[in-house]
């Protein structure tokens, strides 16, 4: 806190609550208040509205105010809005509709956070927290609960909550802007006034109305309350302008209030009391606590309520007068005078604690932020390379962003899979840490979460934690896991992001659905999912159901290839290179059919050199899907003449071979794309590729000008091979320049990674 004026963000849009709470804040000394200008379009928020009137009292820069006004204060307003909020405001009142809001607020807002709770019908707030976080880990962490308060509107609400919430309770009593009695009722209209909104879609109100009709069947009545979706019921009035509503309050004979929930009440019974309309209500609800236990309008059973209503409708003056005179007592606790002391004490307590924990005191010896990049399985090849590039991008990006971040690289403790040499290209500043997955039982997980300061329920029976033999990576503030291949959920003591390269299981049956469900569940529980292509982003949203806001697209990071100095000018062999392996999606059968057509139908002349892991086995291995290749090959003399199986080549020989090829051939089916085409471009070699989304995106990002073919149509593949045979020189001239390729280096793209990741620290 500084010497600037005390400022509060009241991040709600409830009209009636605002009319009381903003003046109350002013009454206890807060003169500058920010009100949100956007709220969800949810029809359930029928009492919401926007109020701009407080903006003129705010003495913060106009540009900052514009950003605050534009932010979504119900989901995730973004780091910039939170930074502005932290700079100018001390306290924020909020309601919780999404866990993402609480998480982002916890990370980025430095002031006090007051969760405004008005009581729920038949539910507690910790149940709501569990419900909102049902796919995630508990959100009430030690970090989140710092300066977080349970701002209860009624003193008894916290009694329903577990200790971790109850201990944070502060009373800010609910009240009415004007709790005076107008006494303008005449009751000339001999009908019951029953308020029951949202009848066309809210099952709670539908049931309330059904019970009402059962209790009061045969008596005259009208139903007030907004009906955002029209209802065909002649009793239902729908939305009425306030003057007409007020006229109903004056003229209708009696109001019946159904509520028996001990923690929740509507405003309309108080409106009736203010106008002087007799109120018949059910016992057991919050009105009892507000002084209604011996009121004559109180009814213990529906039958009793009906009898009272019938007497009022028939003009029983004695009952009417006794109800009208006594019910005014219900307004007493709603008056500002009655609430002020609690508000003053509550805010005082909140500000006192905020002062104690101000950054000046706690920032001493603050440890460096640390991020773990975790390879969850014994990945080598592309995934290992991608993980190392990601680690580098984070380290570089954070440095460029002016942050001092430490990156730790975690891989399975398997020296055979991960020899020291495999990490020679990892910068020295990125520390490597081998680990094993440790299975954590539910009981252990509960204890671990308690020790880590997490409140809430854990839904799984088993969790897993990366055990490095040191501190299980809890010294890191964020875990970034490469891929979603986690059969058990990570122990939720640290937030995690997933880096997902593809959802190939959507297009090929790569594993059973139970396994898929587990992987998808991990993605739902992650803070965010990073993807490198729009196609994978689409699959994450469409196939896995990840909300679009949680999907973060970052640029593809290609390995650094060194350009051939003689690129674009060198001689070429009369051959092209097919880089593949034995995986089914490499589309061998169609490729062989295409080659045969190329040589036999289109009289192709270039040799085809096949290289890649295990390709020496291509015509030898006895797998069912490879057997047909031998038949194709043996039945074609041209194939035998032109097809050269090279097998897996050492890196240098591969590059030499590639550098001399007329073009690179990539006839695979859908996958997450191959950077071999980028490598080829570095060496001045064009490529003919199967047309599928990931390759299109590689083509676009690296401006490769690839030539395309349909991997499902061998004839088209053959035809395109023939065209490349004659056009590869032209294709070579359309390759990007060395400078253009350098524009896609890790150092150039690191900033994009950091701008995503910093939000989760």
């Amino acid at each position: 806190m500084t010497d600037r004026p005390l400022r509060v963000m009241w991040l709600l849009n409830h009209t009636t609550a605002r009319k009381f709470e903003i003046p109350m804040l002013k009454r206890i000394g807060v003169q500058e208040i920010f009100l949100p200008k956007k709220y969800p379009a949810d029809p359930a928020l029928r009492s919401a509205s926007v109020d701009w009137s407080e903006d003129e009292h705010l003495t913060i820069p106009k540009d900052d105010l514009a950003i605050l006004n534009d932010a979504d204060w119900y989901h995730n307003p973004g780091i910039e809005a939170w930074q502005i909020a932290s700079r100018h405001f001390d306290v924020a009142f909020f309601i919780l509709l999404k866990t993402d809001f609480l998480k982002s607020m916890s990370r980025h807002f430095k002031g006090a956070k007051i969760w405004r709770t008005y009581g729920l019908p038949n539910n507690s707030y910790h149940a709501i927290l569990d419900l909102l976080a049902h796919r995630e880990a508990p959100v009430w962490s030690s970090v989140a609960s710092k300066n977080l308060w349970f701002g209860q509107a009624y003193a008894h609400l916290a009694a329903e909550e577990p200790h971790f919430i109850a201990k944070k309770a502060v009373l800010f009593p609910v009240g009415l802007a004007d709790a005076s009695v107008r006494d303008e009722w005449n009751g000339d209209d001999k009908r019951i006034f029953f308020i029951c909104p949202d009848l066309a879609f809210n099952s709670y109100y539908e049931n309330v109305y059904r019970r009402f009709r059962k209790t009061f069947g045969g008596l005259p009545y009208v139903v007030g309350g907004a009906q955002p979706i029209s209802v065909s019921d002649s009793h239902v009035l729908g939305y009425l302008p306030s003057e007409q509503h007020r006229q109903n309050m004056r003229q209708l004979r009696v109001m019946y209030y159904h509520g028996t929930e001990p923690n929740h009440i509507h405003y309309h019974p108080f409106e009736a009391v203010r106008s002087g309309m007799p109120l018949v209500f059910m016992a057991g609800g919050l009105l009892d606590r507000l002084g209604g236990i011996d009121l004559p309008g109180r009814s213990k059973t529906p039958k009793e309520a009906r009898q009272k209503v019938e007497r009022i409708l028939s003009g029983d003056r004695r009952l009417i007068d006794s109800i009208r005179q006594s019910q005014q007592r219900l307004l007493e606790p709603m008056k500002a005078d009655a609430c002020e002391a609690d508000w003053r004490a509550g805010l005082g307590r909140v500000l006192g604690k905020l002062r104690e924990s101000s950054p000046n005191i706690s920032s001493a010896n603050k440890p460096k932020k640390r991020i773990a990049v975790l390879l969850p399985a014994a990945y080598r090849g592309g995934s290992l390379r991608g993980a190392k590039l990601l680690a580098r991008a984070i380290a570089t990006g954070s440095r460029m962003g002016g942050e001092d971040i430490e990156v730790v690289f975690g891989h399975l403790d398997d020296p055979a899979c991960y020899p020291k040499e495999a990490f020679e290209d990892l910068p020295a500043s990125i520390k490597r840490r081998p680990y094993r997955w440790r299975t954590v039982s539910h009981d252990e997980a509960v204890r671990a979460c308690a020790y880590a300061g997490l409140g809430g329920s854990l839904q799984y029976q088993t969790y897993q934690a990366p055990d490095d033999g040191i501190s299980q990576f809890t010294d890191c503030d964020l875990w970034i896991v490469i891929s979603d291949r986690l059969l058990s959920p990570p122990l939720p003591i640290r937030p995690y992001l997933l880096m997902i390269y593809d959802y190939l299981q959507r297009y090929q049956t790569t594993f059973d659905d139970d396994t898929n469900q587990k992987f998808v569940a991990r993605a739902h529980a992650a803070e965010a999912v990073m993807v490198t292509t729009a196609f994978t982003a689409s699959d994450a949203r469409q196939f896995a159901g990840i909300p679009a806001k949680k999907i973060k697209k970052v640029p593809m990071l290609a390995p650094e290839f060194f350009a051939n100095p003689a690129r674009l000018e060198g001689d070429t062999d009369a051959s092209f290179l097919w880089t593949t392996n034995l995986n089914p999606h490499k589309n061998h059968e169609n490729a062989f059919k295409a080659l045969r057509l190329y040589y036999e139908k289109y009289e192709g002349t270039l040799n085809c050199h096949v290289t890649g892991v295990d390709t020496g086995e291509l015509l030898k291995r006895d797998a069912r899907r490879l057997r047909g290749l031998r038949d194709i090959c043996s039945s074609s003399a041209a194939m035998k003449q032109h097809l050269k199986i090279e097998g897996e080549l050492p890196e240098e020989r591969y590059q030499a071979q590639l550098g001399r090829a007329a073009f690179l051939w990539h006839p695979g089916r859908i996958d997450n794309g191959t950077f071999s085409v980028v490598e080829a471009a570095h060496l001045g070699v064009p490529a003919l590729s199967s047309d599928y989304p990931a390759m299109r995106e590689i083509d676009q990002q690296f401006a490769l000008n690839l030539t395309w073919m349909d991997p499902d149509d061998p004839d088209d593949m053959a035809h395109q091979l023939k065209r490349m045979e004659t056009n590869f020189e032209r294709a070579r001239r359309r390759l990007p320049s060395a400078e253009e390729l350098a524009g896609q280096s890790v150092d150039r793209l690191a900033g994009a990674y950091w701008s995503v990741i910093k939000d989760y620290l």
Binding site: A41, P43, S230, R506, N516, G545, P547, I670, D712
Partner: protein
């Protein structure tokens, strides 16, 4: 003002609100209530009265708006069955006894904790002895409980073997199957169907007695052709024949529902063969089904096409600063609820973000609905054309095993969502959120509701090129862009792909058609029915009059 009758003879336990025909009837009655030129009487079995009342209430019509005739008291056998069903469905409210038990348990636990505290902290041997004495009965009870649980454990261990022996016995197998069938799916048991037929016959006789005693009713209308008893009414009769779909897919339907469906088919044929005058929803059904197959005279058949089936009123939110956004949010909320009804997809609720794009086909799964061709087209679009949309259907995949198998074999269980048993609002929400509605059906009684349902909420639609659709979509250019060959999955896939890529253009072209179709309200439809009933009753009375005239002695 003339009085007409509506004849209903739906079977017991049927919730009219959940049936397509029920919703059609609701629209009809809503308009019939306000008709200035005619009044309607409804005749129905005793067991339909409640369902009818619910249906009317659901559309905001007071149950008193129509005179309802027919037996009032249900057969005792049915009452007992319904009591049993109610018992099974009862809400398990916490009884007072349970509540008391819980309170006592809590109090007991609290006292026990106190006693334990006293036990371990007391420094008085007298108090310790007193506490031990107090605890003695509890210790005895605990030992007894342990003994009981030990014996229970023994029984539980032996139970699997006992159970296997019991299940192997023929007698048990025979009767357990019967009991299960009768209790859970009575219509699947031949015994209950036979008993029901007896009950139905008796109920129909009582109903017909009431009907035939009503000389004030000029003509009767049956909204479907399942009830041959209707032909025993001694007054002009009009039978609606929506379709005879079994004859359109004979092999497909032969595997559905067994002889029960064959019996229903027999009832439909009997109703048609004994009927006088008919109404259909399309010229196609008039000529292809009634005239060609059943040799009904064309002059005895009127055609009354559907009114526009609008869904927008079910979901349109008003009174908010941005009503469109609020409507969208409301639909997302309903869709989230609908996802919990998914059959065959694990964790369908994962798709509740509101961001998932999908293609929608609302229909039960029946052989004529051509779902397999749609699935083939979708599989191609997803895996070869990389169209990322999901396909949302509303049938139960287990009702046609081929569908369930195809979805499983092609690994589509996370992309094809079968949301079964949707409420009207959920259905409307699905239509609204869908990028495209599809209807590949091979045969329908009238132009599929998909057309107006989708367009009423602003969603474009592509459909099978079938006769009933071409009766309504008559513009050749529009036909070319929105209709596909339902026997060719590639053509279907191509049309869907084009429509997804040209949504706005397609919708714009279809809007003009919709505006024209929307003019045909249910009020228009009801007036056409009334005109037919009026004509039938007038011609009969003039015939009677002329017969009487002719019979005069000369």
């Amino acid at each position: 003002m003339k009085k007409f009758g509506i004849y209903l003879a739906y079977p017991p336990t049927l919730d009219l609100r959940a049936e397509g025909l029920g919703r059609h009837l609701a629209e009809f009655l809503k308009e019939a209530k306000n008709c200035p030129t005619a009044k309607f009487v409804i005749a129905c079995p005793s067991w339909t009265r409640k369902s009818l009342g619910d249906l009317l209430e659901g559309v905001g019509v007071s149950p008193d708006a129509f005179e309802i005739i027919g037996p009032k008291d249900q057969p005792m056998f049915l009452k007992l069955y319904q009591l049993y069903q109610d018992y099974k469905r009862r809400t398990r409210d916490q009884s007072r006894f349970l509540r008391l038990f819980r309170v006592l348990k809590r109090r007991c636990a609290r006292d026990l904790t106190r006693a334990e505290g006293l036990l371990v902290t007391t420094r008085s041997s007298l108090l310790l002895a007193f506490l031990a004495l107090l605890a003695l009965p509890f210790v005895v009870i605990a030992v007894a409980a342990m003994a009981v649980s030990w014996f229970s454990a023994l029984f539980v261990a032996a139970w699997p073997k006992l159970r296997v022996r019991l299940i192997r016995s023929r007698l048990f197998r025979q009767y357990s199957t019967l009991v299960t069938r009768v209790a859970t799916k009575p219509q699947a048991s031949s015994t209950t169907v036979r008993l029901y037929r007896l009950m139905e016959e008796a109920e129909a006789s009582l109903l017909l007695e009431d009907i035939n005693s009503r000389k004030d009713v000029s003509a009767w209308y049956s909204p479907t052709a399942f009830w041959p008893h209707f032909n025993r009414i001694n007054a002009p009769r009009l039978t609606c024949v929506p379709d005879v779909v079994l004859s359109e897919s004979p092999i497909g339907f032969s595997a559905v529902g067994g002889d029960r469906v064959l019996q229903t088919f027999g009832l439909v044929e009997a109703t048609i063969e004994g009927g006088d005058h008919f109404v259909t929803y399309s010229e196609h059904i008039k000529y292809r089904t009634l005239v060609e197959r059943y040799q009904v005279s064309p002059s005895a058949i009127d055609v009354v096409p559907h009114g526009a089936n609008r869904l927008d009123n079910l979901i349109a939110v008003s009174g908010f600063p941005d009503n469109e956004a609020s409507t969208e949010a409301f639909c997302v909320n309903r869709f989230q609820g609908a996802l919990y009804k998914a059959i065959g997809t694990q964790q369908a609720s994962n798709f509740d973000s509101g961001d998932v794009e999908f293609i929608f086909y609302a229909s039960q799964f029946r052989p004529n609905k051509n779902v397999m061709t749609l699935l083939r087209a979708y599989d191609h679009l997803l895996k070869r054309r990389y169209i990322a949309h999901k396909l949302v259907l509303t049938g139960d995949p287990n009702s046609l095993p081929d569908i369930a198998r195809f979805i499983r074999d092609r690994n589509l269980q996370n992309d094809v969502l079968c949301l079964h048993d949707l409420s009207a609002q959920e259905l409307a929400a699905c239509y609204r959120l869908a990028d495209l509605a599809v209807n590949p059906s091979l045969s329908e009684g009238g132009c599929p509701f998909t057309l107006t349902e989708a367009l009423s909420v602003g969603t474009p639609v592509v459909m099978a090129r079938i006769a009933v659709t071409e009766e309504v979509v008559t513009d050749p250019e529009l036909q070319d862009i929105m209709l596909f060959n339902p026997y060719d999955w590639e053509d279907m896939a191509a049309r869907i792909e084009w429509a997804l890529q040209n949504k706005e253009e397609l919708l714009e072209r279809q809007r003009a058609l919709y505006e024209q179709l929307a003019k045909r309200s249910w009020s228009t439809v009801v007036n056409e029915y009334i005109a037919i009933l009026d004509r039938l009753s007038s011609s009969t009375s003039s015939n009677e009059h002329s017969e009487m005239t002719d019979a005069r002695p000369g």
